[in-house]
């Protein structure tokens, strides 16, 4: 028998195939491009912002959008476009880091609870239930009241709120996957628990977690807004979208642009996260893959 090597990997590299399919999915591609643009602007905020975020010009206050101030100015004469751009870095940082933290911790806990069951499940999930019993904003307020306001504490507070959600979603998904015959089949050839969890259970339990991540990113941006609105998140005069929304609320009848532009920034970002999440879920499933690659949509 000739010992000619065969590809162990998929015929085409998986990431290239994934990227190819994502490009075919026009909605997800659009969302990804918009998000990429938002992230680039947020990372290089100082370069993109026409003015400093906190430069006041009282004579120019509450100006409607114009060529010199495309998004108008606020009640202290600060350029809203510059504040939206600089606020993007704060809002996205809080969103990504808090959801990232919650994703890692929650998924790990849910994976252990769902896979091992028994007392591990009981202890972990009762803890999660206790966290879950608090209204989300109340819990975040309590954490911020104990630890004091500020960006990093806001990240921790939002992460704590989302950990039980990720734990539950992961556990539910794992409960289904761990009973699959292919998991038992892998055990029958000697695979360790670690291998089963990382190679078989987690990848197959991932789709609802991916969707939950995109939804949570959206909600985290809103949560940051709510906490800043209550004075516990980002502290003035630094801008974040939520804080700008809160400050703009007072002038909503007089100058709509104060709340409108940060609000639109939140809406567009949140929408793009959701659309991208849905697209990723479809693209990462090999069964859907062939359907889409074959027939197209």
């Amino acid at each position: 028998m000739t010992a000619e090597p065969v590809p162990l990997r998929p015929v085409r590299p998986r990431w290239r195939e994934t990227l190819g399919l994502l490009v075919r999915n026009k909605v997800a591609l659009g969302a990804a491009l918009v998000l990429l643009a938002i992230i680039v602007v947020a990372v290089f905020d100082r370069a993109f912002a026409p003015q400093s975020a906190n430069a006041q010009d009282i004579a120019d206050r509450l100006q409607a959008p114009s060529w010199s101030h495309p998004f108008g100015t606020d009640n202290l004469g600060r350029d809203i476009l510059s504040r939206v751009i600089i606020g993007a870095s704060v809002s996205l940082k809080v969103g990504f880091l808090s959801v990232g933290l919650a994703l890692v911790v929650g998924t790990l806990l849910g994976l252990l609870a769902g896979y091992y069951g028994g007392w591990v499940d009981d202890v972990l999930m009762r803890l999660m239930d206790m966290l879950f019993a608090f209204p989300a904003v109340l819990l975040a307020i309590a954490i911020l009241a104990i630890r004091g306001p500020g960006t990093s504490n806001t990240i921790i507070a939002i992460a704590v709120v989302y950990v039980p959600i990720f734990a539950r979603v992961t556990r539910a998904s794992v409960l289904g996957v761990r009973e699959e015959v292919y998991v038992r089949a892998s055990r029958s050839v000697g695979a360790s628990d670690f291998r089963l969890l990382t190679r078989h259970v987690l990848p197959n339990a991932a789709p609802p977690i991916i969707v939950q991540t995109s939804v949570s990113l959206a909600f985290a941006v809103l949560a940051e807004a709510a906490l800043s609105f209550l004075g516990l998140g980002t502290q003035p005069p630094n801008p974040s979208w939520g804080l700008m929304l809160a400050e703009g609320r007072e002038f909503i009848g007089l100058a709509w642009w104060l709340a409108f532009f940060p609000g639109m920034a939140i809406v567009v970002t949140v929408l793009c996260f959701n659309l991208l999440g849905d697209g990723l879920r479809d693209v990462l499933d090999p069964r859907q893959r062939t359907l889409m690659a074959g027939g197209g949509r």
């Binding site: 000619e4 065969v6 990997r9 292919y182 029958s188 197959n204 090999p286």
Partner: protein, 346 residues
């Protein structure tokens, strides 16, 4: 080196029923496997037959420690596997493989055929190096009659028969001595069943495998096996050479089972007498006392409810049956501690 590769003694797998939630004491006990003695010889194919729910799959899983046993012992090549440590268990898993019933469920949909087949190689550090492993995967694919070019494909791109071949290739990757085929052809089309059956037979001869072939299809088992074991309600009730058990069964249950198989010759088929059993299989949660077949047995007599029959020589050489018709042998049922709730035989 003993002639026996796998051996079970008094093997029990009992599952607690109910008792979920806050109640920690189970409401009952489901005796899926209840005192099985079984020796599987090196290089033989042992067919294991029985109705659905008689515990044959659970027995197959317990022999590989894929379900925990609650009593008795299983020895694999002289080693008691019920008390193996992690390393010993891993080595045992390399030497004993399993082919599963449903080829649509037994392959991870997110992994390519090559990744699935290479898993045992990675787990046990065999054929180190990417090129060597890829070559070995190609060999295995050809061994089971697939083209090596399919390695990069996903399971959903294959038919049931092809998937089952992939499952067999995975089970063979670690060069096992022992293979359990758990209803491996039951969910395939009839034409494909024959192909997979022949593949198993060819592989068994070529690789010198010891095969436990679990099936409810008596004719498939007769075709493939050297010996046949018949299970009823968690117990092996008859075992012997395939020709003897398949043509002259000594246990009334096997006789009934055999009489249900259609014969190929029209004249013989017209002559075939069917033994129709009354009633259903009793629940494994309430096993009848004494002989567990007595509630449906046309020949049941006095000792059946009171003496639990042991396997004893009956019929051809090497044939054993657990039936008092061949002499009342077995353990008397202790009146003080009943084995289960015994519905009165009519």
């Amino acid at each position: 080196m003993s002639n026996v590769l796998v051996s079970a003694r008094g093997l029990e797998v009992h599952f607690p029923i109910g008792g979920g939630g806050l109640r920690r004491t189970p409401a009952g006990l489901l005796r899926a496997v209840d005192g099985v003695d079984l020796d599987i010889h090196r290089g033989e194919t042992l067919g294991l037959v029985g109705e659905s729910g008689c515990g044959k799959s659970t027995l197959g899983n317990a022999l590989l420690k894929l379900v925990p046993s609650t009593g008795g012992t299983v020895t694999f090549d002289g080693t008691d596997i019920t008390s193996l440590d992690r390393r010993g268990l891993k080595e045992m898993r390399r030497r004993a493989g399993m082919v599963f019933q449903d080829p649509f469920a037994s392959l991870d949909p997110r992994r390519t055929v090559a990744q699935t087949i290479a898993e045992p190689l990675e787990v046990h550090g065999l054929h180190g190096g990417r090129r060597e492993r890829a070559a070995r995967v190609g060999e295995l694919l050809e061994l089971v009659g697939l083209d090596r070019s399919v390695a990069g494909r996903y399971p959903h791109e294959f038919s049931g028969g092809q998937r089952q071949r992939v499952g067999i290739a995975r089970a063979l990757a670690g060069e096992p001595d022992f293979l359990v085929c758990d209803e491996a052809i039951a969910s395939l089309d009839v034409s494909v069943q024959a192909q997979v059956l022949n593949l198993l037979r060819r592989l068994q001869r070529r690789l010198g495998l010891t095969l436990l072939f679990i099936s409810h299809d008596l004719s498939a088992v007769r075709h493939l096996s050297d010996r046949i074991a018949v299970m009823y309600l968690g117990r092996v009730v008859e075992i012997g050479p395939a020709a003897a058990v398949g043509s002259d069964p000594q246990m009334p249950y096997t006789q009934a089972l055999l009489s249900a198989v259609p014969l190929p010759h029209p004249a013989m088929e017209r002559e075939r007498k069917r033994i129709v059993l009354r009633g259903d299989v009793p629940s494994p949660a309430a096993v009848p006392s004494g002989c567990r077949f007595r509630t449906r047995c046309p020949y049941a007599f006095e000792p059946c409810p009171t003496v639990d029959p042991a396997l004893q020589p009956a019929g051809a050489a090497g044939q054993l049956a657990a039936c008092h018709l061949h002499g009342v042998v077995g353990r008397p049922v202790d009146e003080e501690t009943p084995q289960g709730i015994a519905p009165a035989a009519e």
